[in-house]
Symmetry: D2
Subunit: 349 residues, 4 copies
Amino acid sequence: MVNVGVLGATGMVGQRFIQLLDKHPDFEITALAASSRSAGKKYEDATTWYLDDAMSDSVKDIIVSETEPSSVGNDVEILFSALPNGHAAIVEPKFAEKFVVASNASVMRIEKDVPLVVPEVNPEFLDIIDVQQKNRGWDGFIVTNPNCCAIPLSLTLKPIYDNYDINRVYVSTMQAVSGAGYNGVPSMAIVDNLVPYIAEEEEKLEEETLHLLGNLNDLGVTPAKFGLTTSCHRVAVIDGHTEAVFVELDQDIDIDDIKKNIANFKSVPQELDLYSAPKNPVIVREEDNRPQPRMDRNADGGMAVTVGRIRKDSAFDNSFKYVLMGHNTVRGAAGTSILNAELINKTIL
Amino acid sequence: MVNVGVLGATGMVGQRFIQLLDKHPDFEITALAASSRSAGKKYEDATTWYLDDAMSDSVKDIIVSETEPSSVGNDVEILFSALPNGHAAIVEPKFAEKFVVASNASVMRIEKDVPLVVPEVNPEFLDIIDVQQKNRGWDGFIVTNPNCCAIPLSLTLKPIYDNYDINRVYVSTMQAVSGAGYNGVPSMAIVDNLVPYIAEEEEKLEEETLHLLGNLNDLGVTPAKFGLTTSCHRVAVIDGHTEAVFVELDQDIDIDDIKKNIANFKSVPQELDLYSAPKNPVIVREEDNRPQPRMDRNADGGMAVTVGRIRKDSAFDNSFKYVLMGHNTVRGAAGTSILNAELINKTIL
Amino acid sequence: MVNVGVLGATGMVGQRFIQLLDKHPDFEITALAASSRSAGKKYEDATTWYLDDAMSDSVKDIIVSETEPSSVGNDVEILFSALPNGHAAIVEPKFAEKFVVASNASVMRIEKDVPLVVPEVNPEFLDIIDVQQKNRGWDGFIVTNPNCCAIPLSLTLKPIYDNYDINRVYVSTMQAVSGAGYNGVPSMAIVDNLVPYIAEEEEKLEEETLHLLGNLNDLGVTPAKFGLTTSCHRVAVIDGHTEAVFVELDQDIDIDDIKKNIANFKSVPQELDLYSAPKNPVIVREEDNRPQPRMDRNADGGMAVTVGRIRKDSAFDNSFKYVLMGHNTVRGAAGTSILNAELINKTIL
Amino acid sequence: MVNVGVLGATGMVGQRFIQLLDKHPDFEITALAASSRSAGKKYEDATTWYLDDAMSDSVKDIIVSETEPSSVGNDVEILFSALPNGHAAIVEPKFAEKFVVASNASVMRIEKDVPLVVPEVNPEFLDIIDVQQKNRGWDGFIVTNPNCCAIPLSLTLKPIYDNYDINRVYVSTMQAVSGAGYNGVPSMAIVDNLVPYIAEEEEKLEEETLHLLGNLNDLGVTPAKFGLTTSCHRVAVIDGHTEAVFVELDQDIDIDDIKKNIANFKSVPQELDLYSAPKNPVIVREEDNRPQPRMDRNADGGMAVTVGRIRKDSAFDNSFKYVLMGHNTVRGAAGTSILNAELINKTIL
């Protein structure tokens, strides 16, 4: 068993980490770090638990530690970070001197020597870790997972990108409120309403998706070359981000072939049979009215993205469109971070 | 005063007609027709009223008539039709033998000699009425308004189409539940959820929008030539359809110029100062987080479409994107039908 | 293994039966009956699945049978009925000639020789079965479970009723939309709204709760004698009925003693260790803001009722109040029906 | 015209004050005070407007002033306070040295010489103003309106209390999210959920309702003597608090007589024909499924409370029950405060 800890353990993504790590066969939570206000208390007493599943008994009595490398214990190997960006920027590098940091924060994603990875999409980017450790003189390192919309989008685009020449992609999102944190979206803003804007979301979604599908070389990552534009919106859904995707290829469309490539897509986590890896990263459904957040977000424990309505787009040559939906705090955040750690544990540590 | 009637008067769009016609300076409701089950009763007793505003006293005592030309009274000149398609196909032509029928049903929109009109977009299409009357030997005629998403989309595209060369348009909708009728969307389907499909909606939205922006000539209507693709979704909003729109032009973009053209757009209803015409058909807002259904759907009595987030799209050359929102049962249905009738009343009758 | 079937298998409560029976150690589904429209098809093809958890593979290929005793197979012993009342009234007695019928329908609950049972509350009422079989000359019999609000209310009142003298009970409910069936509550009726009325609900809730707490004797059931009044309301919640309960005793209040009696309540299903029996039928929480439907409805697989805010009521002598919440289609319907069958299987069959 | 100002003008209740005062025939807004962060800016620039109706042009250019008596201008006579309690406790007394303060804050309601008034219920309590001015040496004074649930409850109980002997009242509320302020209820807490607790709400509702129905005498106010208990809950409704009410009288019930007394109830504001006074403070509806927040909250501009389901309660002697619903930020807050000011303006100033 590898001892692991969670930074930002009392927040919503922190709780999702704890829930997903419960009964994990390889990782055991031994450290939970949070703000000074919580430090010193039992986790159960420090935390307002937000998830539908009850808090696991195994973490209730863990004493919350300060968010400092010296506080989490020497026996910890991996720290999952659910810290907000400001704090992550300061603290994650300190932890990385000694520990593996698998981070959901976006602040370090832009560093050239920090791998931004979705294990099914670009596992080879973990090779940058050597550079990172050399550059910075760290014994540990930081690995990051992308934005909650970029993860499911890249998972569905990967089998397309690998098999065809993508020319253009247009994406319009309908995102769940949990993506903004527990207090992020007031009910006054979303009941009988929607909000057509999420700060910095379109930038991240566009940049990170092209990065994930890009090419690692000596100069760093060369992003994928096709055009990608997005429009991001918040809707009255608790969990599950939905994206309407329009794709133009540089070649003729065989819609059945495309469906088959998406449905049959498997990658390294499936080959290595990693614990959190879904059987299929993307589930293709044939019903007209799927995917739906409430019906599909828990597919394969929330780690599979569901795609539906894959159809030819007669408005443009060589074009098709589809709708995807993935659990934003499982596949779109904590789950992918854990899958990264499982891949690292199996192949690097 | 012109005497008018409403067909399908007890349903949701029928009620919206009645609400919008209340205190109308030129139209007076003298006939309300519905199914045989309702016929013979006072409107107040025949109807479960669904709108937030209370039923107007002026219609409460009207005796509901059968949906037959002989039942609505000879003094009626215009009939607004909120009938479902199946019924509309049979009944509207009968009424058109004698009356002006302003219909919200989609079934007659495909007839070559039936004008499909948004008064600000293609008022000249009313010229087909002559052909229709000659073809069919009718004293009256049918005029139709488009689909609830095509109306606001065409209103925002019109000033773009008139001033630039549109190459491509991609649209993703987030539509209110009222669009499906009172019983159309079960709460089980939409609370904490969304449905990424609306039957036949994408087809109508694409075809009708290109038709509205098309060109009337001797052979009928030649649709606009640019590519238009859509993806339609239902969300947990009572009233107000939102659409994320991506536009590619065939020329350079001057985003301020585009904004100005949209914001300053006025057309025939504004020139004629029609009663239901909004001051501006499209209101441009500068805030990042607008338009929002609950905040903007009642702009100018629900007759103005609100547009926000008009921004350059750096992913593609000559491209920009925006978000629009319009009240789907006012501007997107009954309100446009009434505006059509006002235009006809002023220019034809 | 006992072979079981589900009547009304394609509807929402029918689906809940199937979900809860999946992997059951003693019951195996071998028959699924539905309307003639579905009969002859594979269950998977006949059904629009409404539940968040995916349909179990084990039922997908079962051929749906007609809702007739001759169609479900001779090897079936127990039939769970999720039929609507009208159909149940006709069909359930026919099935009971030969099979055990555990019914969620309300129509047979009023029959004097048909036991209305919540296993933790009044298991002894199963003794009426002998009378029923004798009266009607049946080899099988019918057992019913109560209304979805009466089940959790009776579960929380039972330990109070057994330990104190109840004088008055006032109940105000906030009920989930799933209680009305998939199409029961239009989204137009409940988004940004609530409906303060549910047909026949108050009558059932009052009558059945007093019946469950009543006394079985030679003349039938003598209902409990205290006054019970209710007001029933529908709110925008998918699953989980909440009830605000005000109780007046005929004796002094010791609020800690009351809490203890509710929290420690166990009964026959717990003693017999029945498979679907929750460890504690009622979970008492101390947080001010609990129970909440989304957080607590799945407690102990949805079979435990959660109670919070047990507090002295200073407005009246000898009074206290509390809030309860239970999953309305699990504990409040299919789950209690299955628990009845488990009790019958262990003690009678 | 009387010049008036609003304290806490940028918050949600402050905005409601401004909306309701727009086009007021007797009051003209000349001062808008808010926090130092806003002071000095134009109101339009200082405020994120939350209401569906657009901000009135007449206030957009008013320069926001500091919340100090010296800043609001000498020509102001009445200040409406939408301040939070902590600030109100400090600032309102300072303003009252010189101005009339009509406050929606709860902090001063408990002061013996500060009238807590609903104009239709206890207008005579304004007589305490003299005592207040004498006690405190103020030229102005403070008048307060009650809690958002106590206002509609007292309005419906008043005609009952005046005509019968009330023995007991049990109330269970279902309250809108706007009552907690714009950021008060996170969407994560209320979508597909409800919260069975609102801090201090039950205490205020019970105490203030009995106070309003009480008796003013030389010793102050003697509260009404009947027992009143409440349970308060938050549901997914934007505006409109609903209350299920159970009443026991000390005498026989004539349900038609009770209905008539409630429906015909009029009081001083109706007699004086005050501008904001609804024609009937309480509207009685006969439909089973009313009142509903979305349908009834705007009745008579949001100033009328709607009552439905008035019915005999067969569980107890001399008992009946009903459901009420009122707009919580109009009738339940700013609207009653303005009505208080209108009454004062007509009878005292």
